[in-house]
């Protein structure tokens, strides 16, 4: 990934900053400036908690370029507790222990190595939460 592009995505990658739509209340991640629910402008930042659960997962044995160092790794669709879903690698967990519905939390890890300008890319990954049960924060 190019350095400028990597830099532009920092807030999302390191801090899970998305948006909240002032008109309809939709929580939006990644941020997109036009609310996907009501199409109103949406630019108010919202920091997501990083808590969620596994909606689906897959262990990758044949990675695309840039991810060879991590193979095999498990990538997942994680449903954040605020509603939106993200695609991210799972970490700190054996592939055969992953389950749909497993509660997870965001951590910051190395996501890509090398790339055309040698930038190491850090970003969000998700690991199983320390406690098997966790309560949703009230809004």
């Amino acid at each position: 990934m190019s350095i400028p592009r990597n830099w532009r995505l920092q807030q999302q990658r390191y801090r899970l900053i998305g948006e909240i739509c002032e008109k309809c209340g939709a929580r939006i991640f990644p941020p997109r400036d036009v609310c996907p629910e009501c199409e109103a402008p949406a630019k108010t930042p919202l920091a997501f908690s990083g808590r969620g659960e596994v909606y689906s997962y897959s262990t990758v044995y044949h990675p695309p370029q840039g991810f060879e160092e991590f193979a095999p790794y498990t990538v997942a669709l994680v449903q954040l507790e605020e509603g939106p879903m993200v695609t991210a690698q799972l970490t700190d967990v054996d592939a055969d222990r992953v389950r749909i519905g497993m509660p997870v939390e965001m951590v910051t890890r190395k996501v890509q190595t090398g790339g055309e300008e040698g930038a190491i890319v850090y970003g969000y990954k998700f690991r199983p939460t320390r406690f098997e049960h966790h309560s949703r924060q009230p809004d």
Binding site: S56, V60, H62, V75, L77, M85, T87
Partner: protein, 385 residues
Amino acid sequence: MRDVAIIGVGQTKVGEHWDISLRHLALEALQAAMTDAGVARADALYVGNMLSGALDGQEHLGALVADFAGLRGIEAFKVEAACGSGAAALRMGYVAVAGELADIVVVVGVEKMTDKLGPEATSALAMAADGDYEAAQGASFVALNALLMQRYMYEYGYSHQDFAPFAVNAHKNGVNNPYAMFRFPVTTERFAKAKMICTPVNLLDSSPICDGAAAVVLAPADVAHALSAAPVRVAASAVGTDALAVHDRRDPMVLDGAVVSTRRAYEQAGVGPQDIDLFELHDAFSIMAALSLEAAGFADKGQGLRVALDGEIGLEGRIPVTTMGGLKARGHPVGATGMYQVVEVVQQLRGLAGANQVQDARIGMAQNIGGSGATVVTHILERME
């Protein structure tokens, strides 16, 4: 507005054509189609392709192919919608003729993927996904389909082995298609033992990386009979889109883009699923085949796989699919695939499918999908009596 017909088709074999360049592949298919149509000139050319820039260092395919084919000066440009590029190019050709802006239009889908090694082609394919939020996370295109398959199995209680009928059916039909890349049958036992790529997707759930080109010639329907012995009417041409990223879909288990595209197509053609005699669906991965059957109304939600398990997708079944091998066995040269699907429906409607002939085929549907479902282009073709 006026009705549009296909008056000629052409295709190359699908395979690893290290000896044939991108422009030569396009020319081969284009010339075959124009010869079949009996035309020497065209008013416009649309070229469907996804990866020429990434893998061949070549863009600007409209001008390149027009020039190379001796059609210098006509309207021409590349149309891109990831793996939906082929049918998207046909859509533009259809619009030009239907809108009375052109009379004879050539559409060619072309793709070369095998000049580079696997990892590079895989990375290029990831451009069909969200570069910032899917590909950048290490989710290859296979992985995205694997995520869908895993969830589908979980929600509806299927096993991985339940997906075998798609590969078995596709390969059975590929045997009799001289243009297909794979012309050997595949058993359920072989499916069970195939190499895992991204769990649960294995090698036989996935269509191959390959090269190929396919083309059609379009003309106004009211002059088609004068130009061709066996014209086919384009009864519907419809596009639907959906969120690019799987994680942004309303319900990842429903291809909303396909629901919209098929609904529009059925309305245009004045038909319903029960009228479709064959369905060239987008079986890039077996999970896509199951979801496509549901989105097009051939099965309820979660029952698309049941259609295959119940043996309804064969040539004599309720809804024959991948009748010439599909993406799995005929092959999936991504930007060309949409055109192969249409060429195959035409062959069926003309009664020229040989051992794979669907009896009394009158109405066929071809559906080409870009990415994991974000662009869906559906064409319904009807035999012209």
